[in-house]
Assembly symmetry: C2
Homo-oligomer: 202 residues x 2
Amino acid sequence: MKAYILFSGGKDSSLCSLMLSKFFEINLITCTFEVTNTTSILSKEISNILGFKHSIFKLDKSVLEEASDIILKDKYPNNGINYIHKKALLEISKSNKNSIIADGLRRDDRVPKLSVSEIRSIEDKYDVCYVSPLMGYGRSFINMMINKFFVIEENESKIIKKCDYESELRMYLYDKIGEQKTDNIFPKSHMQSRVISIKKNI
Amino acid sequence: MKAYILFSGGKDSSLCSLMLSKFFEINLITCTFEVTNTTSILSKEISNILGFKHSIFKLDKSVLEEASDIILKDKYPNNGINYIHKKALLEISKSNKNSIIADGLRRDDRVPKLSVSEIRSIEDKYDVCYVSPLMGYGRSFINMMINKFFVIEENESKIIKKCDYESELRMYLYDKIGEQKTDNIFPKSHMQSRVISIKKNI
């Protein structure tokens, strides 16, 4: 059975892929709004490091617009990011029925987060198994596993080159409302990571 | 690093062990109040089938008494079972500091269930990583994995030979308040399972 993993190039979605690879054929999928081509280039690069199949999934620009409207109304990013994540899960499930759809969400993540009824609705609608393999693990366990398998680069969200929704959202908002206003909306110190090499053969 | 898994002989804790075995040295632990010796005999037998190390952990009878008091007051078993599970996690963490303590709880389980603050309290107190590897998975995914790896026997809680808290709780309450009153407290149709053989080499 095939597992399609929402892949941001970060340590969590990389570890999620590794854990599922012991049991399933892994297909990484990176979503983009094509605000920048960094998303496509970088995610392909990190997928090659991990040695898993990879594809790009273009999400409709209207999803980004709706998410940025939510964020500007809320003045914080959580609900907007959640909105994108749900839309991404729905679209990928729709395109890959009868398969496993996975993400790298963890026990300690506050966002994105799906309720049990939202999960069941996706599963029933598209006959998929939606799984979050890291959901039963806390920060210390996950860090231990990551240090065992990967070399990662860690820095502020604003600085690190990444291929997640937040990076494209930020760039979109820079254009729309300017850099200073955007930076005020996102948390000041938000460390992000990406895998730069693997320590041992997966 | 060693992983200690609360092991009931059922399909969930067996699958949990299998999944962690790809990364850690597995030590199954079955808790008993010694209400019956079935717990010890059966859990050892199923551990041998799985091929993992196994030990018995004696929980204090006062925990069973307190749990049965809770259940008789509530007139349903959830809080009592939760109480035993937390005590078991605490005791096993205390005896195995600096290790991984795991259970087979799933996304859809209503009981036992720990809050994030209860989890953090155990982790901080005994320097363990408490993990529930199946927490990110729904029923259909778990059933698929179980069918891939195990042959299981499934029947009503009351009939199937098992080595979980509920079996000993029921037997203790049979003695205390009689069979009919006990059966009225526990849900009428509650399917339980145990592994009887493995399909492919783990």
